[in-house]
């Protein structure tokens, strides 16, 4: 099986307020179709690592490969395109565009990619929303739906361009246990039915233990 994600000796320093070595020689891989989670205490650098992996943060040393392709050092516009096409991202706080409808929120990344017609995009978006059981919300404003629904909309948005990997930064951190379970089941279904690779940062031990692999971090290092 091929690798979706691979890191080699990633180091990162925070320069303000004082010089601080956050990530130390990070090197790990995520295989295609793998559901991995990153665990560790607060401040151990797991979110920082995730933002580097998502290509949003470029201020680091080391090498990052996505689909066996070196991403490190590419220009910003190219990175934007890579994020758009290959990476789906789900945040702790849902982060939807509150002025847009649910459907528009989901369609936006696909419209940006502009590989399909608007009709196709809308069809795909409806498909994703129905799969996540929120098809009835399409025309509501994103600010008018509940927290659990918002997180599912965010997942639908992350999936709209059929990415190679879905990343989550504590996607269940802000949800009650019922909705957390719901999100976990969705992730699991995506992995099993569509072979999607997932990498999720979480504090939730129950959540992590049910994933394929736990990457344990401590003080900026991967320890297992």
């Amino acid at each position: 099986m091929g690798l979706v994600l691979k890191t080699e000796n990633i180091n990162k320093h925070f320069k303000k307020p004082v010089l601080f070595h956050v990530l130390k020689d990070i090197g790990f891989e995520v295989k295609k179709g793998e559901f991995a989670s990153i665990m560790g205490k607060s401040g151990c650098g797991k979110s920082t690592l995730l933002y580097i992996l998502s290509t949003m943060d470029t201020d680091y040393e080391g090498k990052l490969y996505l689909n066996d392709d070196l991403v490190t050092g590419k220009p910003q516009t190219e990175l934007s395109r890579i994020r758009n096409k290959y990476i789906g991202f789900v945040f702790q706080f849902h982060y939807l565009l509150s002025e847009f409808s649910v459907l528009e929120n989901v369609m936006l990344p696909a419209k940006k990619l502009a590989e399909k017609t608007d009709a196709e995009i809308e069809h795909n978006a409806m498909e994703k929303l129905n799969m996540l059981n929120i098809g009835h919300l399409v025309n509501k404003r994103a600010s008018r739906i509940s927290g659990g629904e918002k997180q599912r909309v965010a997942i639908a948005r992350a999936l709209i361009n059929d990415p190679s990997i879905l990343m989550g930064d504590e996607p269940t951190g802000n949800l009650d246990s019922y909705n957390s379970e719901n999100v976990f089941q969705i992730f699991k279904k995506l992995k099993e039915e569509q072979g999607l690779s997932l990498l999720v940062v979480t504090h939730d031990v129950d959540f992590a233990e049910r994933t394929d692999r736990i990457i344990q971090m401590e003080d900026g290092r991967v320890i297992s």
Binding site: S47, Y51, S54, M56, D57, Q76, T77, S80, R81, R83, N84, K85, F89, F91, Y95, L96, L97, S98, E99, F100, E104, L108, P109, K111, K112, L113, A114, R157, N161, D169
Partner: protein, 420 residues
């Protein structure tokens, strides 16, 4: 590569959902541009009216014989005193005639010139208006009245009677309004005038002349050339002044110099005669433009402010757009297009408001004794003002939008999402 449809769609949604700020920002531009259009139309209209007031009545070049001392005094002709220091006391003006020598050939020569719109002969002389034992000093000008009407819009200033009446009446006079009022005379009455030599002539009043400048209206009257020649007892070639109107006023200065040499007469051009007047026009234009530009800059700051606020408000949205694959440039274009849309909407409605206010001012009654031809406030509807207005609106909103949107482009999504 830039997906305008998506960018404009997002910009539109932002503008529509933030209707209040959008309207406020647009209104800033609207009032700036509206005030600019109104101000500049009104001010230049006023300027043009004042220009016309002077220019209509002033010839571009005025030919006449100046009474002045000879430049070369007789002593200078003696070779014996060539190297001496000669002092002449009590220099007298040179004895010369007031009439222009060979005036009729000069006139017909000038009328053949293609750059000259018209050349009119005049006879200017001092007279007294007689009313019983009272004598009022004044000026009488003999004119070719139909040419004066054609070249200097004289009929604008004939408030009673008509130029044709003067043309057709042998002993007619066009009396200054001030004189007519002082002597309680009206069209159809008779007036006696006396020349400097003491000859008295009765003339029939065929019209009243009012220039709007009371010093002129109190003394000036007009009659036909022939009438004045007869009053003065002079021949038909007696002409004291020639007024020239050009097609292109800029030629006045070089042409005046050339005519002075060619015909050995004094020639003054319009710029020389009205130097202070042009300064006034320049300064009024300067004031108009500085006020207008101030208004537009204030509007620009309004837009800058509102976009800045909007970007702070939309920080999270910007982060999310960047996280989902929009590049910095995309984000910048989203906010730039909002600024430009505000500029277009505000600018166009500003033009409309400016035009409306101009129309309103144009219809306000403005009647003054001094300006007999003006009934409403003057407005200059120059389409260039509208072009400049909308260009400036676009330009100022572009600049006002560029700075905040550039900031949006540089926002680091990681910092926003992590909340640090």
């Amino acid at each position: 590569m830039i997906n305008w449809k998506v960018i404009l769609g997002i910009a539109k949604t932002h503008l529509v959902t933030k209707m209040k700020s959008t309207v406020t920002a647009s209104l800033g531009v609207t009032f700036g541009i509206g005030a600019y259009i109104t101000l500049v139309s009104f001010m230049t209209g006023l300027n043009k009216m004042l220009d016309d007031l002077i220019l209509n009545q002033t010839p571009d070049i005025h030919l006449y014989n100046e009474i002045e001392p000879s430049e070369k005094q007789p002593i200078a002709f003696f070779e014996e005193y060539a190297n001496a220091l000669n002092v002449v006391h009590s220099v007298k003006p040179k004895q010369s005639q007031t009439k222009i020598h060979n005036a009729l050939p000069i006139l017909s020569h000038l009328r053949k010139d293609k750059s000259i719109r018209g050349a009119t002969p005049q006879i200017r002389t001092q007279i007294f208006y007689l009313s019983g034992s009272i004598e009022l000093g004044g000026n009488l000008a003999g004119i070719d009245v139909m040419e004066e009407v054609r070249l200097y819009n004289m009929n604008d200033y004939i408030v009673k009677g008509s130029p044709e009446a003067l043309q057709n009446t042998e002993n007619g006079i066009l009396l200054g309004a001030g004189v007519a009022k002082k002597m309680s005379l009206d069209v159809g009455d008779r007036i006696q005038i006396s020349t400097a030599k003491g000859d008295v002539f009765p003339l029939k009043i065929v019209g009243i002349y009012q220039s709007g400048i009371s010093d002129i209206d109190n003394i000036q009257s007009f009659a036909k050339l022939k009438t004045v020649q007869r009053i003065l007892g002079e021949a038909e070639n007696y002409i004291t002044d020639i007024n020239i109107k050009l097609f292109n006023i800029d030629l006045a200065v070089p042409m005046a110099g050339q005519l002075e040499q060619q015909f050995k007469v004094k020639a003054t051009d319009i710029k020389e005669a009205n130097a202070q007047f042009e300064t006034g026009t320049t300064i009024r234009n300067l004031i108009t433009y500085s006020v207008s530009i101030t208004l537009l800059i204030v509007a620009g700051f309004g837009i800058y402010n509102i976009l800045n606020m909007l970007i702070y408000e939309k920080m999270k949205d910007i982060a999310i757009l960047k996280a989902t694959g929009f590049s910095g440039l995309d984000v910048q274009l989203i906010f730039m297009s909002q600024a430009v849309l505000i500029g277009v909407i505000g600018g166009l409605s500003g033009l409309a408001i400016g035009f409306g206010l101009s129309r309103l001012i144009d219809n306000v009654a403005f009647e003054t004794e001094a300006l007999p031809t003006i009934t409403t406030y003057p407005i200059n509807y120059n389409p260039w003002f509208y072009v400049i207005g909308i260009t400036f609106a676009m330009l100022s909103t572009f600049v006002a939008g560029y700075l905040p949107s550039n900031k949006a482009r540089k926002i680091d999504p990681v910092r926003i999402i992590r909340g640090t």
